[in-house]
Symmetry: C2
Subunit: 394 residues, 2 copies
């Protein structure tokens, strides 16, 4: 035996408890954490299947859908994104990607790998896509699939016209995929009413569940497209007809597809129970109120928001321009070291340009907003020589 047991595994596991106010993951409640310490169940045990059924109901509520094909993929939000795209797209299909930040490009990369003919629809920097822009692009590209990120966590832009885009997609006989990873629960989303064909979200954002399992839902139209594909979905693991069979979406008997992460199911189930208990409307209202409070606090502090138009601002993730003379890494390290408190930098097009502040789930409270403002201010002043042009003391 050449390789010896590694000494590093003799160290005790140490996981600090942090305040996660970046763009996700957010903090789980103690109820959710406790749930994950429950014993593992077999992937076909009735208790496990019941939890899956309950999760399905919770997801339907969160997405506001009656879609039978509502399930989870056993992977992160990236996995759900890939599942959405690789089920709908076949070699050569035209797919149009709305881009308001990082995520449109990430989704397009995935689609291209699967052989799609990828087109882009870029918004004016810092702004959401307008209906004129979308309609012009739809007319020009005539895509089979349109991808829209409802809330782009790299820029903090929200796309508020999904309902209108849905109508447009119907007119062009185009399937509409909406990424709600960072937005669900922080802004309205009505999957059925808005005629969205595939929606998915992240567990570790507003839902406050652990990452690793991602809700996804397919409309009847999406499922009939999938069923009538001329080629098999390239990925067995993401094949919605097989996952849906395991999740009992189509009736008939459940068939083993993969060994599901039961501990993640427990966490997600409890988070959905908490979410449903608070009620969607009230959760959304709270996120909006908190984001207004944060935006005002940021501007009062003399800092500038990345997104100029109020209506384009995502409630869950706020991007704040880094003032000249400030090193975001030092600010972030200061906050983490002194307060175990997360302040994030940018991502993709916003890397090194913005702080990203997350208000999600448990962290979307007035107290947490004020704590963020206080720590951000202290961290900036203690790691740079700049003075803030403050409108009022916070």
């Amino acid at each position: 035996m050449e390789i010896q047991p590694p000494l590093v595994l003799k160290r005790q596991l140490l996981v600090p408890n942090k305040t996660l106010m970046g763009p996700g993951p957010s903090n789980c409640s103690q109820r959710v954490l406790d749930a994950m310490a429950n014993p593992v169940l077999g992937h076909l045990h009735p208790e496990c299947l019941q939890i899956m059924d309950e999760i399905k109901e919770g997801i339907k509520y969160a997405f506001q859908t009656k879609n039978d094909a509502t399930m989870c993929v056993s992977g992160s939000g990236h996995g759900a994104m890939e599942a959405a795209l690789c089920n709908l797209l076949e070699e050569g299909d035209i797919a149009l990607f709305g881009v308001t930040g990082f995520w449109g490009h990430r989704a397009a990369d995935m689609a291209k790998r699967y052989g799609a003919d990828v087109r882009f629809l870029e918004s004016r920097f810092g702004h959401a896509l307008t209906m004129e822009e979308v309609e012009f692009a739809m007319e020009g590209h005539k895509p089979q699939v349109l991808f829209i990120c409802q809330g782009d966590s790299s820029t903090g832009i929200v796309q508020s016209n999904i309902g209108e885009i849905g109508k447009l997609c119907e007119k062009y006989n185009c399937l509409l995929v909406v990424d709600t990873v960072a937005s669900l629960g922080g802004t309205e989303f009505f999957m059925d009413e808005w005629k969205v064909d595939v929606a998915y979200t992240g567990s570790q954002k507003v839902l406050c569940a652990p990452p690793g399992i991602s809700p996804i839902s397919f409309s009847k139209k999406a499922m009939s497209r999938i069923i009538s594909r001329s080629s098999k979905v390239k990925s067995y693991y993401w094949d919605a007809t097989l996952i849906g069979q395991y999740w009992n979406c189509f009736g008939g008997s459940r068939i083993y597809h993969h060994t599901i992460a039961s501990t993640l199911l427990y966490g997600l189930r409890e988070s959905l129970a908490l979410f449903a208990g608070m009620g969607l409307k009230s959760v959304i209202r709270r996120h909006k109120e908190c984001s207004f409070r944060l935006q005002k606090g940021i501007e009062d502090m003399g800092l500038e928001l990345l997104v100029p138009v109020q209506d384009d601002r995502l409630a869950t993730v706020t991007a704040v321009k880094i003032p000249k003379g400030v090193d975001w890494r030092k600010v972030s390290e200061y906050a983490m070291k002194k307060y175990f408190f997360e302040i994030s930098g940018g991502l993709g097009p916003t890397a090194d340009h913005v702080f990203r502040i997350g208000l999600m789930g448990e962290n979307a409270t007035a107290e947490k907003v004020d704590l963020m403002l206080t720590i951000l201010r202290e961290a900036i002043l203690n790691t740079s020589n700049i003075t803030l042009n403050e409108k009022s003391k916070i």
Copy 2:
């Protein structure tokens, strides 16, 4: 708001504690379960990255490899299987699949979806593949990739000649992929010495970690094949160059690839710590001893093992023929209802033909073997009218 909060989520979560002695998942230790209730960490937080580094060392030990490209995929064992295949294979590549049960066919299905030219090498039913059979097929098909399942959990067959197969693959300039999902820790496996190019395993088997995160390792030869592909890996999510970058396998800076399931990392880290603490040799010896004890007990009870040749029997999963007049579902239900004790049926080619008994990790002890024998006997006698042709009382 049309969809109301589901009432089923008002129910309290109830997860019974069962003895999982099917083909997996197996029981997690309390240390592993407790670890998962730790707070979620960000996917780029230093504490999270350190845990990932420690896990890498643990996996290298378990696989007996020095491969830099040792990591986990964020998915189940099926995910790791797909990752192994879609990274190595390009459109039209010839891939040969050793079949000793269900898993060769499952892997072949995946490879075919990704466009490979799939060939089969089926063993004589109930037997492992012989070197003559493998050499004959290699000569005939000249594949770019050979897939072997070291331990097929559907039949309980172990492939003990991986080392020789590795030499043969070198001769034929073929990459060797070995599925050790059900076998690792229950039988010897020397990735480097045996010249295996890709190996992966399940977390929820002998390692006794939760399902949902799967160790995988790529040899230098495998990585250089992947780097010199003429097309991008079709799946972004399984792309080993990107996952490996995030897992810091190649030096350079870590790049965000997806949001890792930190709670699963905690569980896996603790399970690897326990595993390394006991020592590979001792774990393997214990699994072998327990399987001999089980095999003897089964035969003494007058039942018949599916695999006739001792050397072809997998230590971790034992397939027992269902005697005429016995309904395996009733047996299974009896054991579960009365003892919260799992006795499984078959899978794929063995469905309705065998019981499958898992001895994995915490459940590979003489006490658990005896408990299995006692409950199996009681369950058979209480759910059927047959008499057992017992050699001795157990």
